[in-house]
Every structure is written in structure tokens, then in C-alpha cells.
């Protein structure tokens, strides 16, 4: 099925691109809606035929994987859901992969969000990942969702010294002093690893500025592709690793599957599945750039 899909995709796209090339070289205008149709097809066809490619973790992704892997059992990992539904298709696979990995290694998981929408998406991760895949993990003992607080970087500035100044309860209204997972936890400095998943403001950059650097706490990030280039300068000294866009998520998923084939062999891999349409869409965009330049130089030569 996948091979037939690949052939159909290639025929559709290559045929269409040739038509575009001929049309633009003969000086006829190509409407922008044609470009949209091409991108739509380049994404839809591989999705329908489930075209996927193999992924291998790069050092920047492996850095996070190895960190979670090598932390002693019961280490405290905080994952911050700093995104909304508009970013979810891209970064949700990352947060789900982090949650899976942390719980599979029996670490304690602390979930929060600097975005109001992150609170609901964290609840969705608990419902769709933690409860069905880790039924023996107990809320308040193995994981906790303390939710969102308004204040952007101000929140980090407070919880770097004391969680309870801002967080009196978890999202369900349970007093933090009464939950086992919070015994002995005073501030962010008690965490062994911080992970921020997002791509806007406040996000990974604020975590570097207001938590990781002043508290000297290891920080990892999962970022939407748009913000990724701005975060690379922090790697490797201020960020132990970074998942850049859906490619980063796919690499992390493949590493999880490779390391734990029995446990995660059948887990959903939206990141890997998205890389098929991604690859074809990128090839189409590259072809557009080549066609655009060819027609430009051809028209220039013709004018001379």
C-alpha cells in the first residue's frame, strides 16, 4: 500500500510540477491557488497511503533521551506544557513521548503550564497517555498536574524559590502539602530535569532565562519549528537538548521504539507518520523555488 502510495504521489507531483515548469517557462502566470493545491496533494496523498521514512536520533535529540535514560529511578522531572491547540499537532507528539519515557523509567512526573491552554492539553495527555498506558501509576504519587498560573516569566521567578507561593493546590484543588509527590519539594531547584514543550512566549527561552540558568538546573526543550532556530544558540551549555519541530519528535519516537521495542513497539507515532507528508511537501517547495528561479532567468534572457 505504501509503495503504491509513493508511486501515485510521485506521479501526481512530478507530472504537476512539469506542467508548472512548462507553463512558467512559456511566460504564462501560475495562480497561487494552484500552489495551494500542490501542497495539499503533497500532504494528503502520503497521509492517505501511510508513507513513512525511517528516522535516526541526532545528538541534539539523543542528549535529552540519554539524560532521562540515565537519571536514577525516582528522579523528579518537570514537564511544562507551554503551548495551545494551534501548536499541538507539532509539539504534542513531543510531550507525549517525554511523558511516556519518564514514566517508563519510573521517574516522578510534575506537569505544569505557562500557557492557560497548556493546562487542558496536559489533562488530555493524562487521559490519553498516562491513564491507558500506565494504569498502575497513581496521581499524586507518581505524577501530578499543578496546572497553569498567570504571570509568564514571573511565575518562574517565584517558583525558582518557592512553589507554594504560587501553587497552593493541584488542578483538582488538592492541597500540595497533602500529596506524596510534593513531600520535600520546595522549589524548581529540587527538580532533576526541567522540560519545556512549546514554541511561543512564554516558552523555552523564558525557562532558560528564569529557571535553568539562575537555578543551574538541567533543561531540555521541545520546540515548534518556527522558534527552533532561535533556540539553537543555547545548545549544549544552556540546553541539554532540543527537539526541533516534528522532525525532532519523530527522532525521539524512533529512539523510544528502538530502545524499548517490547514496551513502545506498538505505541502511536504521530511524529514519524508526519514525516512522510513533510518530506514530500518540502520536495514540492524546493521544486517551486527551482521553477521560480528558472522561469525568472529564462524570462530575463528572453528580454535581452
Amino acid at each position: 500500500m505504501s509503495n503504491i502510495g509513493l508511486i501515485i504521489s510521485a506521479l501526481l507531483i512530478v507530472g504537476g510540477l512539469l506542467w508548472l515548469l512548462i507553463r512558467s517557462l512559456t511566460g504564462r502566470e501560475v495562480e497561487r491557488r494552484v500552489i495551494f493545491i500542490f501542497i495539499g496533494l503533497a500532504v494528503a496523498v502520503p497521509l492517505l497511503f501511510n508513507i513513512t521514512f525511517s528516522e535516526k536520533a541526532t545528538p541534539i535529540v539523543k542528549g535529552i533521551f540519554d539524560k532521562i535514560e540515565n537519571l536514577p529511578e525516582g528522579s523528579k522531572i518537570l514537564v511544562s506544557f507551554d503551548y495551545g491547540p494551534s501548536m499541538a499537532p507539532e509539539v504534542e507528539p513531543m510531550s507525549n513521548a517525554f511523558v511516556r519515557h519518564a514514566l517508563a523509567k519510573n521517574h516522578k512526573l510534575y506537569i505544569m503550564g505557562l500557557w492557560a491552554t497548556g493546562q487542558s492539553l496536559a489533562a488530555s495527555a493524562i487521559e490519553n497517555v498516562i491513564k491507558p498506558e500506565f494504569p498502575n501509576k497513581v496521581n499524586g504519587v507518581d505524577y501530578i498536574n499543578i496546572g497553569y498560573k498567570a504571570g509568564n516569566q514571573g511565575v518562574l521567578n517565584v517558583i525558582i524559590t518557592d512553589f507554594r507561593k504560587l501553587y497552593a493546590t493541584d488542578v483538582d484543588g488538592v492541597n500540595l502539602d497533602s500529596v506524596e509527590i510534593f513531600h520535600g519539594i520546595k522549589s524548581l531547584k529540587d527538580m532533576d530535569l526541567l522540560i519545556s514543550v512549546g514554541g511561543g512566549f512564554p516558552g523555552i527561552k523564558e525557562w532558560v532565562l528564569f529557571a535553568a540558568d539562575p537555578g543551574n538546573i538541567p533543561l531540555a526543550g521541545g520546540s515548534a519549528a518556527v522558534s527552533t532556530p532561535l533556540l539553537y544558540p543555547y545548545y549544549p551549555r544552556q540546553l541539554i537538548g532540543l527537539l526541533g519541530g516534528i522532525k525532532g519528535a519523530a527522532e525521539y519516537e524512533s529512539e523510544l521504539k528502538k530502545t524499548y521495542p517490547d514496551r513502545f513497539g506498538d505505541m502511536p507515532t504521530p511524529g514519524i507518520k508526519m514525516m512522510g507528508p513533510q518530506t514530500l511537501a518540502h520536495m514540492v517547495v524546493m521544486a517551486f523555488i527551482v521553477i521560480g528561479n528558472l522561469s525568472f532567468f529564462f524570462a530575463k534572457r528572453k528580454r535581452k
Binding site: 500532504v43 491552554t117 498560573k149 518556527v226 513533510q278
Partner: protein
């Protein structure tokens, strides 16, 4: 004019019919999966409505239209209301109430804390901010705004100076020959792996040349001629490659969002993929 109105009415009728048909088909599909009748009606409606909103937003690619406007306005309204509600329950009820009134804390069923008088300061500043809605005493809100701007600027100044300036300068001081043990060991253990000595050294050289030439490009006190001009040209190339990488990442991000919506349409709505 009358013709275009008629076309609009036909399109509206088609949208309503398609919506109803989709709702009914989805209802039966969910029933077949063993979902309870009431939940099937509700879920079928929400999935159909979500599909309608997705298509309404995508219809902007053709041209601006009332369906796009409807979806856009709904999104803005729902987002604003959502942020306000979450802010109220998590911050106002969760943080403020327990520290200013035990009676209110019991009313909202949150654990009361020791009363802190200082919490009335942000309350007053918040009320002052809302006075912006008044045309007569709207100027009062500037005091709160000044407080917000001043605090944020003060906080950011220190943190940016340390993390984005001092630490970033320090990050640029990197060895140009990573783990150098001489020419012999370099060639005997030569590898093109990403974590190998050669690639790591090459990456550090790229950082060094990129930072150096980029800084020269933005140094305007000396004319860009000779070696300086050459380095400045390299700086332009570095900048262009950076913009290209940013564009590539942006394309990847946007395609991911499109994949996300198409996955919803094909999987949850149409049931074409599993």
C-alpha cells in the same frame, strides 16, 4: 447583485444540508462502534462542527468569505473567554482568595492560607487597570501599566544580560580543535559521525567564523574594504543561510499544522485512515 445573493443562499443551503448529512452519518458510525446514543449525537455534532470550522478556515485560501469570518470570530471569542476563565479560577481563586479571605476561600472550596495584606496591592493595581474603560479617569490605569512595564523591564534586564549576553559570549569560547591529540591520532580515528572529532571541530569552526563575520557585518565604524570587506561578505552569507534555515523550519511548522488538520479530517471525520 441579486445573482450573487442567490449564489450565497444556494451555498448556505448546501453547507447546511452537508452538515446535517455528515452529522447523521457520523452518528450512525459512532453507534456502530458501540457508543451510547446520547454520546453519539453529541460527539457526532462536535466532530462535524470541528470539520466545518476547519474547512471554513481553509476556504480563505480560495478567497475571503463569511464562513471564514464566522470561524475566525468564534475562535477569537472562545480563546479570550477560555483564557479569562482559566485565569480567574487558577490565579484569582487559586492564589488570591485563600490569602485575603477565609470566608471566600471556603465558598470557592480552596484551602485557606495565612492572610497576607500585601496581596491587596495587586488587587488595587488590577482595579486601577480596569479603569481604563472609563473615558474620565482612564489615566489612572497608567500607574498600573507603569508598574508592569517597570517590573518586567527590571526583571528582564538582569536575566537577559546574564543569559543572553554573558553566557552567550562565554558559549562562543570553544576549542577549534576538539580533543586534539596530534595529527597522527586525528587521522587514525578519523570519522564522519556527528559526534566525531572532525565534525565537532568543523562545527566549532563554523560557529567561530559565523560569529566573527556576523559581528564584522554589523560593525559600521570602518569602511567594509579589503579583509574587512571580505569578512563582511562572509557575514552576509552567514545571515542569509540563517534566514534560509528559519524559512525551512517555518515551512516544516506550517506543513505540520496542515498534516494535523488533514489527519483530523481523514481520521476522525471521514474515517479514511486509522
Amino acid at each position: 447583485m441579486a445573482n450573487s445573493r442567490r449564489i450565497s443562499q444556494i451555498i448556505l443551503a448546501a453547507v447546511i444540508i452537508l452538515f446535517a448529512v455528515s452529522w447523521i452519518i457520523k452518528y450512525f458510525a459512532l453507534q456502530n462502534e458501540g457508543v451510547d446514543t446520547w454520546f453519539s449525537i453529541r460527539d457526532a455534532f462536535f466532530i462535524t462542527f470541528a470539520a466545518f470550522l476547519t474547512l471554513a478556515i481553509m476556504s480563505f485560501l480560495y478567497k475571503d468569505n463569511p464562513y471564514y469570518k464566522f470561524a475566525e470570530h468564534l475562535f477569537v471569542g472562545v480563546s479570550a473567554a477560555y483564557w479569562m476563565c482559566v485565569g480567574f479560577w487558577s490565579t484569582f481563586v487559586g492564589n488570591f482568595i485563600p490569602k485575603v479571605s477565609h470566608t471566600l476561600a471556603r465558598f470557592f472550596e480552596v484551602p485557606p492560607k495565612d492572610i497576607e495584606i500585601t496581596y491587596f496591592i495587586p488587587l488595587i493595581l488590577g482595579i486601577m487597570l480596569l479603569l481604563r474603560l472609563s473615558s474620565k479617569i482612564g489615566w489612572v490605569s497608567r500607574w498600573s501599566l507603569a508598574f508592569i512595564v517597570g517590573t518586567t523591564a527590571g526583571l528582564n534586564l538582569i536575566r537577559y544580560l546574564r543569559t543572553d549576553f554573558i553566557s552567550q559570549v562565554s558559549n562562543t569560547f570553544i576549542p577549534l580543535l576538539v580533543d586534539w591529540g596530534g595529527v597522527g591520532p586525528f587521522f587514525s580515528s578519523f570519522s564522519l559521525s556527528a559526534s566525531g572529532q572532525f565534525v565537532m571541530s568543523l562545527a566549532n569552526w563554523m560557529i567561530f567564523i559565523g560569529v566573527f563575520s556576523g559581528l564584522i557585518y554589523f560593525f559600521f565604524s570602518k569602511e567594509h574594504k579589503g579583509f574587512f570587506g571580505g569578512a563582511s561578505k562572509v557575514g552576509i552569507w552567514v545571515l542569509m543561510i540563517t534566514f534560509g534555515a528559519s524559512f525551512g523550519y517555518t515551512v516544516m511548522g506550517r506543513v505540520s499544522l496542515l498534516v494535523g488538520r488533514l489527519t483530523f479530517l481523514f481520521q476522525d471525520w471521514l474515517g479514511l485512515i486509522s
